[in-house]
């Protein structure tokens, strides 16, 4: 069965935190159990040792004979007891059990032998053996009960020959205790897991709340209304702040783009309204007072209006398709195309036209764009230059950047009109009485040059109007 990774950040965080918590709890539980069981085991061995001591004390040698003296039953007698001499002969036993060969048993630091053993009745048990010298009766010293392995080799007259005493005890109680401990650890861990899980879930929920609130605010925005007043940007957490800055920057640019788009559509519709109203008025008046013999004039007017609208729509399409026209294909030098246009105009124009040296840097673009730029810029220059004026085409270098400059003088343009020159449909004559211009020429030029990697700038230098074209600087991140 394949584990399905949650797709949400909350789900993944919860999975990660709960997994690590579970792992921690499991390891902690094992560690705890190991510590507890080691402690219990140790305590059991100590108790067993005590039992062995008590049992060893009960053996007494008298006149060469071994007696088991329980001090009137006051000492507890082990259920399983084995006494052997140095040769391994069994001298005394209580309860039957098998002892493993002692040489194979591990020895503790104190010289004891300990081992797990199976007691009769399939009872798990543990035995402890030690070597000792039983006390001899009527000696002056009290019996210790055992001696260390090294001491066994020391001849101590008041103690008899070394013997081996083994006591075994059932591990049932220990096992029960460990089972209770295990159960406690498990249930406690489970309960802890639930509590930690709840706390983690709440923590993740609260922690992700700013992100959730932010995403809800973003969801309320729609394309037509990218208003940021509804979005609360206060108390943004550090990690979210950077994210918000980028999103807000992007949405601001998008909002501006939408505003421009709406404004353009609004302007285009407004521009088309005028010829439409003319068309309607001419045709309706003609129909209102229909005179077949006088129908030619209104029909011709309708045709003229239709042609003007066709031209405007053509320009609008050209503007919308500008994006596609700058890629691939043959390239022409923009300066050369402008120069050719001016040379052609020089023959018919009464203006003074001067063409100076071309820029060092090549201003290459597609022939279509070069012709569009040349046509619009030159027609503007020729129409808007006062009588006896001058048009100059030259290069200018400024701060190491080459630019093409088309200058014409004198002009009647005002400085405050410069920013509007490339606005769609803007004309200096707001009444739009001129039927020859739709106010889209410079918009098209700017768009076309921008797509080719150039910038357009308008300047007024005294009575001269300058159009500057230069390559757009590359922004390094």
């Amino acid at each position: 069965m394949k584990l399905k990774i949650p797709q949400s950040l909350r789900g993944r965080l919860l999975l990660l935190l709960l997994s690590s918590t579970l792992l921690t709890l499991i390891l902690s539980g094992f560690l705890m159990f190991w510590v507890v069981s080691s402690g219990v085991q140790k305590q059991f061995d100590e108790l067993l040792l005590e039992e062995v001591h008590e049992a060893a004390v009960q053996f007494v040698l008298e006149d060469g004979e071994l007696f088991y003296d329980n001090e009137d039953g006051q000492l507890e007698e082990p259920d399983w007891l084995l006494l052997q001499d140095a040769e391994g002969q069994i001298l005394f036993s209580r309860g039957e059990f098998q002892t493993p060969p002692f040489e194979r048993l591990p020895r503790t630091e104190d010289g004891h032998y300990v081992a797990d053993v199976e007691l009769p009745g399939d009872i798990d048990g543990r035995l402890l053996s030690l070597r000792f010298r039983p006390r001899i009766k009527n000696t002056a010293e009290a019996a210790v009960g055992f001696l260390s392995a090294d001491a066994l080799h020391v001849a101590v007259p008041q103690y008899g020959e070394p013997m081996l005493i083994t006591v075994a005890a059932s591990l049932a109680q220990v096992q029960d205790t460990l089972a209770i401990v295990l159960f406690t650890i498990f249930s406690g861990g489970l309960g802890l897991l639930v509590v930690i899980g709840f706390v983690t879930w709440m923590g993740v929920r609260i922690g992700l709340l700013p992100l959730q609130q932010y995403s809800q605010q973003l969801r309320r925005l729609h394309a037509g209304n990218l208003e940021w007043e509804d979005v609360d940007s206060s108390d943004a957490i550090e990690e979210l702040r950077l994210f918000r800055q980028e999103i807000e920057g992007l949405l601001n640019r998008l909002g501006q783009s939408f505003v421009r788009e709406r404004r353009f559509i609004d302007s285009a519709a407004h521009e088309l309204r005028t010829p439409l109203s003319e068309l309607r008025a001419v045709s309706e008046v003609a129909l209102f007072q229909f005179e077949p013999e006088n129908s030619r004039a209104p029909l011709e007017q309708c045709r003229e209006i239709a042609l003007e609208m066709e031209e405007m729509v053509g320009l609008l399409l050209q503007l919308s398709r500008c994006e596609e026209d700058h890629q691939g294909g043959a390239q022409e030098c923009l300066f050369d195309v402008l120069r050719a246009g001016l040379e052609h105009a020089q023959a018919d124009s009464k203006l003074e036209i001067e063409i100076q040296s071309k820029p060092r840097e090549p201003f290459f673009t597609t022939p279509k764009i070069a012709r569009l730029v040349s046509r619009n810029l030159l027609s503007n220059a020729l129409e808007n230059t006062g009588e006896g004026g001058r048009i100059t085409l030259f290069r200018r270098e400024q701060e190491g950047v080459d630019s093409i400059v088309l200058s014409n003088a004198p002009v009647t343009l005002r400085a405050e009109e410069l920013p509007k020159l490339s606005e769609p449909f803007w004309r200096s004559d707001l009444s739009r009485t001129s039927r020859q211009h739709h106010g889209l020429g410079l918009t098209l030029v700017e768009q076309a040059l921008s797509n080719s990697g150039f910038e357009l700038e308008f300047r007024l230098e005294g009575a001269s109007f300058e159009v500057r074209i230069r390559r757009r600087p590359v922004m390094l991140r």
Partner: protein, 224 residues
């Protein structure tokens, strides 16, 4: 009725002039705001049809200046600006009506008629008198339930007098409201038109409708 059209689009201006003239209105038209302002002050018009985007002086400025100088002539704005704020601005500046381009000529005609009636304090599209009914919408006159066959000029004169029934109207006033500035008006054209009206009404047995007020002009009598 005399109208002034201030509209910079030559085609629209001439079409409207032609259409409204065919409906019996006397129409003057100009394409420049400054010229329109001067004409509006110089002559008495029953209605001014005003475009907003004008060379020389824009429509709203022209309107405000006219109102500031006490001009009471009804003004209908004709504009491609269709937003609510534009319409509100135009009406608050002093316009009496606002029609968005493109428009139906028929609608313009209806609004012009309504504003002209309003200028004369008349709300109904029919002026009913004993034996005479003047239908302002259809531009026809019924005398004793029979239609009176009138020329456009005759109708216009009768209409003008009937809208101000009971008030004597001078010949100069009649000339200024019934003829455009481009028309050459003969000295007795009003008198001859009145004579023709009296004759045509008399043929249908309706007399004493138009009274002569010596030294003043003519008056439409609303009582028998």
């Amino acid at each position: 009725m005399r109208l002034l059209i201030i509209e910079d689009s030559h085609r629209l201006r001439t079409s409207l002039e032609k259409g409204l003239s065919a409906c019996g209105y006397s129409v003057d038209s100009v394409g420049c705001g400054r010229e329109g302002f001067e004409m509006a002050q110089a002559s008495a018009y029953d209605l001014i049809i005003l475009d907003l985007m004008l060379p020389g002086m824009d429509g709203l400025s022209l309107l405000r200046n006219l109102r500031k100088r006490g001009c009471q002539t009804h003004i209908l704005i004709l504009s491609a600006k269709d937003r609510v704020e534009h319409r509100v601005e135009g009406l608050q500046a002093g316009a009496d009506d606002y029609l968005v381009k493109p428009f139906a000529f028929e609608e313009l005609l209806a609004r012009v008629g309504a504003l002209v009636r309003r200028a004369h304090g008349c709300k109904s599209s029919q002026l009913e008198f004993p034996n005479v009914v003047v239908d302002l919408t259809r531009r026809r006159v019924m005398a004793k339930n029979k239609r009176v066959d009138l020329t456009p000029r005759e109708y216009s004169l009768l209409e003008y007098l009937a809208l101000d029934a009971g008030r004597p109207v001078s010949r100069q006033e009649l000339e200024s409201h019934l003829y455009s500035s481009s028309e050459v008006v003969a000295s007795n054209v009003i008198d001859s038109t009145v004579a023709a009206l009296r004759r045509k009404l008399g043929e249908l047995g309706v007399f004493n409708v138009i009274h002569t007020r010596r030294g003043i002009g003519y008056e439409f009598c609303s009582v028998e």
